[in-house]
Assembly symmetry: C4
Homo-oligomer: 205 residues x 4
């Protein structure tokens, strides 16, 4: 399996998941269309937008990880498929969140799905970095650990979101949204540390 | 993120959205199939065809934009994902339009979605053109402004469509259809201006 | 628009359509699963298999057409999108055929969809061949006409299928299946004529 | 048809099938969300995970097969489409298994689908290996037979799973899961034999 095949296949799965999310934004066929009835679709729209952005961030991280991996072996292939399985799962708790926006249980399932994705991503990264024949050449010593922290830190945040949702559900949802915002908004903290951690040869991604 | 990865991912999303639109053209399972009952599917068919063509035009514009962009940075990546989010949203108001073809509200939601797509596309274009390290070399001075006008002009037309639909819904739908027709039909106005605005090095796209 | 982008996008749409067809093969959620109840799914399975094979043949023909086209212009791009629109439509009459396997109307709609696909394919091919800057170099004089006949001949067969279905529906379905069989099964008639019609430079596809 | 086009198209179909599987994991819209009601989704989740892994293994095998094939002809193209048809079918018995996890009939249909996939894969492989203009150069004499055994052995296991399910359904499901586990888990038996069977020139895949 070449790296580019793996990348193309994974990109395909990401593109399909991110698009399928819209299938849960549905207006009931038997209702008249008014502002009033439309309001029921709102939580589905939020669940869609949140999940789209989260899957988008995962796609970018996946791409960034593979940038530092020069080759794919059997183990990495299956770790990648395990990661994709968890990504493909996201539309299920996303639909639950759209149907039951006030449910602590829906927040929990959504959060657990995201935690598993981040755990699988971290495992895949750490495995690749531990194998000299897989990791790209000239990676600075500090990079593997720093990226592993970036991948695993959200696990703690999602855990906190689940805990806060027990108290007040919208707080959990806000924390979910905070994670992609942290990665999307210009972030001098990450940029500086990442640049420091990166070998010169990989500065341009 | 290389430009070609971004392009391939975006193309995948466009291809999936354009195909998923057919999922809303459904005949009710419990009805006998006659010309009479089939007539209920007609608005769904129109909404499908209109949306297919509109998404097709967006795909071509997206491709044309990227032709003048040589590199992708973090900001452009997220602007592109924001654009894709709005593209992925289109099947939702398209389904509403198919279900409620006489509803002013459906026309409005559809129009607002399209306006947002054009606004996001214009923003992405203007951002890329404002960054010398992203814009392709040798772009004629007049091109960025001309293309920005091409991308933002439909916003006005869609606004007019919404206003006219308040009066008489089919007028709004006709205006929606007029926008892709303007871009698809041989258009000496655009061709001449575009050729004038383009640098010689980009004449062949 | 380069030819390879157009090809990749079209391939994506073909791959999605051919896969979405399975979504219509559904067992009702509220029925016990027995051989008896399962029998209701059979027409959906046939409609799926027939449509899968037909779309597969269209995919191969599309690929073969593009083999003789070296460049894409604006007109060809939109002709190609028109062809894709009709391909994307196929799951709709396919679902009708699965729901109403005995309906002459379902056979007719299915047949009309296929006729339109072949007409659009023929138009796209004839346009490309009429433009010296689009057609590949060294195409033998006889090729354009021969391929146009291959693309348009099924229109007559589908028309006959519709006419026969008026009499006895299964006859129409058998004719539908005969067309892909003609293209898939080893066919010395086509092979010999195609080899004769092809320029030596294109003998290897 | 070049090999890379066939590969890209097949990869697209695999990526879509593997992702569509999630569409069957649905929580009923009219039920309150509790641990109790959620339990009904569990069999759908298992059917999803099992099918995801099985399709994943098929994707990897398909890729590995194509590694030893240097060219594609008409016959191979249609054998590949027949294989894809059977892959695209998988979500149907997978949905049945999710709906009726205790049904011997569901296990049987699922198993028959998988048997057909393995039979089609074996046929495609044996055909390619029998044609000197298709098989890659320098393939060791022992490879075709060994890979054919790897592809056809699961047919026996799936048959046994169906037979055991007649007795006790979960035994059948466990055997289904055993097949991908055998291919995914580090497997010194396969590795050693495969290395022995492979020509030196293909040792790196």
């Amino acid at each position: 399996m070449t790296k580019s095949r793996l990348e193309a296949f994974s990109d395909g799965v990401f593109a399909i998941v991110i698009t399928l999310l819209i299938l849960d934004v549905r207006f009931p066929a038997d209702k008249p269309l008014t502002w009033e009835t439309l309001r029921r679709v709102t939580p589905h729209l939020w669940a869609f937008a949140l999940s789209f952005v989260i899957v988008g961030v995962y796609w970018v991280s996946h791409h960034n990880m593979l940038h530092f991996i020069k080759q794919v072996d059997r183990q990495l292939l299956w770790l990648n498929l395990a990661l994709l399985l968890l990504i493909v799962l996201i539309p299920f708790p996303a639909a639950l969140l759209g149907q039951h926006p006030d449910s602590e249980l829906a927040v929990m399932l959504y959060g657990v799905n995201l935690m598993l994705v981040n755990a699988a991503g971290t495992a895949m990264w750490l495995y690749a970095m531990s194998q000299p024949h897989l990791a790209a050449d000239g990676i600075a010593a500090a990079l593997p650990g720093f990226v592993a922290k970036l991948h695993s830190a959200p696990i703690v945040v999602y855990g906190a979101a689940i805990a806060l949702a027990h108290w007040y559900v919208p707080l959990g949802l806000i924390l979910f949204a905070a994670v992609p915002a942290f990665f999307i908004l210009p972030n001098p903290f990450i940029d500086r540390r990442l640049r420091a951690a990166m070998g010169a040869s990989h500065a341009q991604k």
